[in-house]
């Protein structure tokens, strides 16, 4: 069996699995799996860029995804003029002061000679700057959050089209990645891992607590969509007629129409990124990356600037995760910082990359789609299995109730087992690197 046939077969398998879901469960859930699968594939592509191409161990994916989600809010939500007049200038001034403080500290660090004076000056700038920042920042926040807290209580966004948020999400994630990369790259790989893990937690903490920015745990709902609302479609006579022509009732047709619309949008982005990643892989740049990954010392001896290249690819990969995050928030139509969990948004993506085949872009895409399918479907399957196992137990048995109830947690167990099995018996993944 040639390689192409095998790989096509694997992708076809994912397609068949989704089709089976459509027939067995419902077309809506099948499309939902497809849409999130496409987004997961994009995230996996980003991680593959970092891990597969360059061997960078990033476990802060969740943070970049969440930044993309924040971009969706900041770009597309209508601005809240009252909040801006109440505390907008205060916030901007405070942020400016914060930047000036950090810039001043960095300047002092670079310019002053090493010694006790430098430490003292640095401390003075940082501590003083922090208090000035809080003095300007805190009142502004209170004023903004006081503006109809139940409905807004935040600055709002720019009111621009949501599709613009996708590249912006990528840019925001890239900016954050640049900052992290500047400090943490060049350290040992485990240290980079811990640093990224930490930054992701901090980003989530900011999203949860800075209500003026993203309403915190009050969530932002009703983010504008790039596609029409189902309700509007259902009252559109032309749409009803077309739906009737296909033999569908308007409600069903409208939900399918919207989901297929998203799928098409996501597919376009995925294909574009996949094409770029393939081009990068084949280019001299990609070869250099792999050379660095395989033997850093040798690459450095050949005159390659390893740290710079690492920074470059770290930023690029994180930007892709940011784009995917913005897309996901668009699909959900809401930003809910409470739902970002590392197991789901960081480690699951890692399972996707490893299972799919690290170092191979098609592998990452396949892994993203396949693992997402299992992540969703393990729960109903687990429930089914549990009910089968416990069918012999009496109805009122506590063990039975516990087992059936616990089936929901099967997915973590399954993912762990899949990851370990692949690592042990097929460490190259489903589609190995060429």
């Amino acid at each position: 069996m040639s390689e192409t046939v095998r790989n096509t077969g694997l992708f076809a398998l994912v397609g068949v699995l989704i089709l089976i879901t459509g027939v067995m469960q419902s077309w809506n859930s099948a499309l939902l799996i497809l849409n999130m699968g496409l987004i997961s594939a994009i995230m996996a592509l980003g991680v593959n860029l970092q891990w597969g191409f360059a061997g960078l161990f990033n476990i802060g994916i969740m943070g970049f995804v969440a930044l993309g989600g924040l971009a969706a809010v900041l770009v597309s939500m209508p601005p809240v003029p009252e909040a801006w007049t109440a505390g907008g200038t205060g916030i901007l001034l405070a942020l400016l002061l914060g930047i000036v403080t950090i810039w001043g500290a960095m300047l002092a660090m670079a310019k002053l000679p090493k010694g006790r004076t430098r430490v003292l000056v640095l401390l003075a700038i940082l501590v003083g700057g922090f208090f000035v920042f809080r003095a300007v920042f805190d009142p502004a926040v209170v004023q903004i959050e006081a503006v109809s807290p139940a409905a807004t209580g935040y600055l709002g966004g720019l009111g621009l089209p949501i599709l613009l948020a996708w590249p912006v999400g990528g840019l925001m994630a890239a900016g954050a990645a640049w900052l992290i990369g500047k400090t943490a790259l060049g350290l040992r790989s485990d240290y980079l891992a811990i640093a990224t893990l930490g930054i992701a937690e901090i980003i989530i903490a900011v999203l949860k607590n800075e209500d003026w920015l993203s309403r915190g745990v009050k969530n932002v709902i009703g983010i504008p969509r790039p596609l029409p609302y189902e309700i509007d479609l259902q009252s559109d006579p032309a749409f009803i007629e077309r739906a009737a022509g296909l033999g569908l009732d308007p409600v069903m047709a409208s939900t399918l129409y919207v989901k297929i619309g998203y799928a098409v949008l996501f597919l376009i982005v995925l294909l574009a990124l996949l094409w770029m990643a393939q081009m990068a892989l084949k280019s001299p740049w990609g070869r250099m990356m792999r050379a660095i990954r395989d033997n850093e010392t040798a690459a450095e001896a050949m005159g390659k600037d390893v740290t710079r290249r690492h920074l470059q690819i770290f930023v690029l990969g994180s930007a892709i995760c940011g784009i995917a995050g913005a897309m996901m928030t668009t699909l959900d139509g809401q930003l809910t910082p409470g739902t970002y969990q590392p197991l789901r948004f960081t480690f699951l993506i890692w399972v996707m990359v490893i299972v799919g085949g690290s170092g191979n872009n098609f592998g990452a895409v396949l892994g993203g789609m396949l693992i997402w399918f299992f992540w969703v479907q393990v729960e109903p399957i687990g429930l089914f299995v549990m009910e089968l196992i416990t069918s012999g137990l009496p109805e009122d048995s506590g063990l039975r109730a516990h087992l059936v109830e616990s089936a929901a947690h099967m997915r973590l167990l399954t993912m762990g087992v899949i990851l370990l099995l692949v690592l042990r018996f097929s460490p190259q993944g489903l589609i190995p690197e060429k």
């Binding site: 485990d190 640093a195 197991l343």
Partner: protein, 336 residues
Amino acid sequence: MDFLNALVAIANYVLIPGIAYGSQLALGALGVTLIYGILRFSNFAHGDTMAFGAMVTILVTWWMQSAGIGFGPLPTALLALPFGILGCMALVLVTDRLVYRFYREQKAKPVILVIVSMGVMFIMNGLVRFIIGVDDQNFADGTRFLISAGDFKQMTGLDEGLAIRTTQAITVITAVVVVAWLFWFLNRTRTGKSMRAYSDNEDLALLSGINPERVVVYTWLIVAALATVAGTLYGLDKSFKPFVYFQLLLPIFASAIVGGLGNPLGAIAGGFIIAFSEVTITYAWKKVLIYLLPAPLEPEELVQLLGTDYKFAVSFVILLIVLLFRPTGIFRGKSL
């Protein structure tokens, strides 16, 4: 008098919680550091190992409570702790046999082992959720306070109360006992010495006839004991919630790295550094300042440097500073 009140307030809200939390972090970081020193990888499953050990302890505690076995004024969980340790030991030994040994024999790169530990983390996390669920579990019993705030006020006549919870006292005492035993073991016993030798120089240790598999087994046993003790103490002091243990991974790793990965003394120092920074920076200093400052200078706000939700940021920033200025950690890591 005001000065004394301020001191008591600091002791009550910063010192005592900081010491208790620091002991828990130190025990967790010791486990991470031992694995790093001997098995040479960062074990991401450590948080969930703690959760598993604590879970077994809780299950045995519940059984004891229902059977009417108690420990007087002390929490029953202390009686159940040995069983929890045994359960956790069994789990990590099985994991090592089934998972890690293969990669050890292959001499896989450390980063592969880290990814493998991610898989183990998924499985352990799933197991814990599967068996005990995701909810908060309360299993503390016995006397709640060693000294309650009210008693303290009566005793001393101060306005400010000082409360020491039994769990806090137990945490500190247990941590001291465990750490003392660990150092005695590492420095005085044959096995401990062979562990240190193996960590220092693997080839030399092999040449002098140290059996690596034996060293690894002992390491896992000790790590399981440390993780269970740390997990149970944390659960007793706060509450048991599987998700929280995963989040502890960050401060634990920060402690181990700040102190110097692979260095047990560093792990303890790191644990206390991280714990005290977190508590100090997220504590609202208003009360203390009111006691200390003259009336016109008294603050109106809480004087809290950072919200408690940003405690991760604290451990993270300390971690970054140490990594940037002293990448091997305060105590020069990688020697056991």
